[in-house]
Symmetry: C2
Subunit: 210 residues, 2 copies
């Protein structure tokens, strides 16, 4: 993302100007995927929005699908934050996860990336596969490892399904009172539920939670 700090390692052999152009293209791509979804977004429109020649775009990124995959890469800081999440205290994993996740939705650059992901995944099967792969490898994997409970994949997908729906309601559909709710209130309401899915008893002996 263009507003990412300079700490990110530049691939060997790329000049600073080239790196800037690539970031500019990726940023335009995220905006186009967010606004139109994967299928309706075109390489031509991305090139126009990034103010570069379409040929250069193909030269740097290959196909539209390659461009999408590149635009969905999580920034290094976010990957690091997810790592810290899994390494931290297991007792408040749910609250920390909700805080990090909703915080990303509130941040303009990651909001665009997340909206692009959601818009695309619902419009095209290939993009849907990318989401699943990225989610498993980069998000659910470390999370499941951090949770360490039985039936890790089931727990992670139950928690993730809730978080995806929460972001849709709050940030895409802007449904009240979720849209205007304070982040820390949401952490208090949703954190215990996510914690329950990750580490609690999934098959309770009859009595409801709470």
């Amino acid at each position: 993302m263009t507003d990412r700090p300079t700490g990110r390692r530049r691939p060997v052999g790329r000049r600073p100007g080239e790196q800037r152009t690539r970031e500019q293209i990726l940023d335009a791509a995220r905006e186009q995927f967010a606004a139109h979804g994967y299928t309706a977004a075109t390489m031509r429109r991305v090139a126009a929005a990034a103010d570069v020649d379409p040929a250069l775009l193909h030269h740097y990124f290959g196909t539209k699908y390659d461009l999408f995959a590149a635009a969905m890469q999580l920034p290094g800081e976010v990957r690091q934050a997810i790592g810290l999440l899994a390494a931290g205290d297991r007792a408040d994993l749910g609250a920390r996860l909700v805080r990090l996740y909703l915080g990303l939705w509130q941040h303009p650059a990651s909001n665009r990336q997340l909206r692009a992901l959601v818009a695309s995944v619902l419009s095209h099967d290939q993009a849907a596969r990318t989401l699943r792969e990225a989610l498993s490898a980069e998000v659910l994997g470390p999370l499941v490892a951090g949770a360490g409970g039985d039936r890790a994949a089931l727990r992670a997908t139950l928690a993730a399904s809730h978080l995806v729906g929460l972001a849709l309601a709050r940030h895409v559909l802007a449904i009240e009172p979720l849209a205007s709710a304070d982040l820390e209130d949401l952490v208090r309401w949703v954190g215990p539920v996510v914690q329950h899915y990750l580490t609690g008893p999934l098959d309770p002996p009859g009595a409801p939670l709470g």
Copy 2:
């Protein structure tokens, strides 16, 4: 929906043939909205899929937006089932709600309607407004009334956000193990959480759930 039983009351003054044509158009509309979303679906395509003249479609339903609203109307049985949900035992409201909701996603006719709603709501602001209005009036309203707790709107939207995300993961993205999970297993896992949102303590005194 075309496979709806004959129990539905026909509006006064409509001949059976006209009613059949209307249902045929609504069915084609749901399929087009599900496949392409609100913005990309066209009246022309719906008319072609329903094998009727586009003029007839406009005559029956007016604008594309009117057609969408008509196609999103819940069948009488479903409205009735939601009513029974709210009137039933409050202690297992969560489980009964999850069972009804996921059951609708598993039923071909309502699955098409729900997919049309999801695809459209994420592609167009007007459609998003329809979803919110329909949800509040027909689903969240009775639910909140049934739950009867404090902060009813907050509780209903927290539960609904989870249910929407769950259906996306299970029925749109087909993420495992949720996609292949048995309905009654999901009722056991998710029911208590929905129950908690609807009737449990939202601001626990520190201790996590479960």
